[in-house]
């Protein structure tokens, strides 16, 4: 079998992992007989790797408050109502503080090595996304969830399928919160799930479940409070959980403990 001639474009596509497997194998065979070209290809691969090592940490940095939508206030007003807007602006505005001086991260202050910072960055990102999702969806009167609790089986099957891992909403009836339902949301690199609960007074609680924590190490409970929204969050294996509500730290802590116990 004659294979196609190897072009410069092929070599770059090989470096960037953009070739189909069969073609990739052909290029590998071609390179095996040409050490100089193989060295060049390796150098290009190292370049990609070095770029990621050098600049990926920027992704975990807190976004400075100077960056954002100029008319954020107006836009959020239209989307989620005045109440959510106030909370959200507070959340976005105060976000920088979470990563730098989060109140559950004393070890960071004493041991600011890169791994620690990256881990905290990932976890804080989870809390941030969860807080935003809570602020946007929990005030919804007519459409708080996509699938209601009356179809819990369907909800569980659907979200588990989309997240690629089994997820179950914990039952918090003993704590006075009943499941309303859940929805699928876009996360950092794929789908995440949000379950919503409500007590008899209409107070809402959301549990944000992400399966994007593969690279992050487990964390203990962390707490972030911004404006009226408190977030308890933790990473457990591939799963990241964030529990958000307009509740006191103590109240959230007891709910988080119950959630954690049921998810184990």
């Amino acid at each position: 079998m004659n294979s196609l001639p190897v072009t410069e474009a092929d070599l770059h596509a090989y470096v960037d992992g953009l070739l189909p497997l069969a073609r990739q194998a052909e290029i590998e065979a071609w390179l095996a007989a040409r050490p100089e070209e193989a060295a060049r290809v390796n150098a290009y691969r190292s370049q990609n790797l070095a770029l990621r090592q050098l600049f990926d940490p920027v992704l975990d940095e807190a976004v400075p408050p100077s960056i954002g939508l100029p008319e954020r206030r107006v836009w959020w007003h239209g989307v989620a109502g005045r109440c959510a807007a106030a909370v959200l602006i507070a959340v976005l505005g105060g976000m920088a503080g979470w990563v730098v001086r989060g109140n559950a991260m004393p070890e960071v202050a004493t041991r600011p090595d890169r791994v620690q910072l990256a881990r905290v960055g990932a976890a804080a990102g989870l809390a941030r996304q969860a807080a935003i999702a809570h602020a946007v969806y929990s005030p919804e009167l007519r459409h708080p969830v996509e699938v209601g609790a009356e179809q819990e089986d369907h909800l569980v099957a659907w979200l588990s399928k989309r997240l690629g891992k089994p997820v179950h909403p914990p039952h918090l009836g003993k704590l006075g919160y009943d499941l309303i339902g859940g929805r699928l949301l876009p996360g950092e690199s794929g789908p995440v799930a949000q379950f919503m609960y409500q007590d008899t007074a209409g107070k809402r609680l959301t549990l944000y479940v992400s399966t994007e924590q593969g690279a992050a190490a487990d964390t203990g409970f962390r707490f972030a409070q911004e404006g009226k929204v408190g977030v308890f969050y933790w990473i457990d294996g591939d799963f990241g959980y964030a529990l958000s509500a307009g509740a006191s730290r103590g109240e959230l802590a007891s709910i988080a403990t119950a959630v954690y116990a049921q998810l184990k």
Partner: protein, 169 residues
């Protein structure tokens, strides 16, 4: 479904990573990000739902950066203490490598640097880069090829590649 504003906000970390690599100076990079966000937001009406928000914003950033360079005429390259000190790992040598990479990157022509970054850092396909920058695929490929080779020679401490002299009879 996310609203356009939320989609823009979701893109900010990646815009910052790219701008930092493209511009070098962290403060100038963040200024570029904010200009991009504002421009994107003010032109939301021009964004089509079928177009990926990320590519659209990167295209805006590209245009803003080109305009900025044109306005300043001279491209300044920070090669002093202002380089961001990102590699504070346990390996003291890692910092040196990283510093070299940053310095070498800054020595590339901006046309090559942006293509290298969109592919190597942002993970775009060649077609996406061509669409984002509004140029033919062939131009993307030739700039990628030249940029990578230049970067390799810089990292290996060689001067820019010199074309071999032709033997003339």
């Amino acid at each position: 479904m996310l609203d356009p504003g939320a989609e823009i906000i979701a893109c900010i970390p990646r815009l910052r990573r790219y701008a930092r690599a493209l511009v070098g100076d962290p403060a100038a990079a963040d200024d570029l990000v904010q200009d991009t966000v504002e421009r994107g937001w003010s032109r939301m009406a021009e964004w089509r739902r079928d177009r990926e928000m990320r590519a659209w914003l990167f295209g805006i950033m590209h245009n803003l950066h080109v305009d900025d360079l044109r306005a300043r005429r001279l491209q300044t390259t920070a090669l002093d203490d202002d380089l961001p000190d990102l590699a504070q790992g346990s390996n003291p040598c890692a910092g040196l490598e990283v510093r070299d990479m940053q310095a070498a990157l800054n020595l590339l022509a901006v046309e090559q640097r942006e293509i290298l970054l969109l592919i190597g850092l942002e993970g775009m396909s060649y077609d996406q880069v061509a669409a984002t920058l509004g140029m033919p695929l062939g131009t993307v490929m030739s700039r990628l090829s030249r940029g990578r080779e230049k970067l390799r020679s810089l990292m290996e401490g060689r001067a820019a590649p010199v074309l071999p002299l032709q033997v003339v009879k």
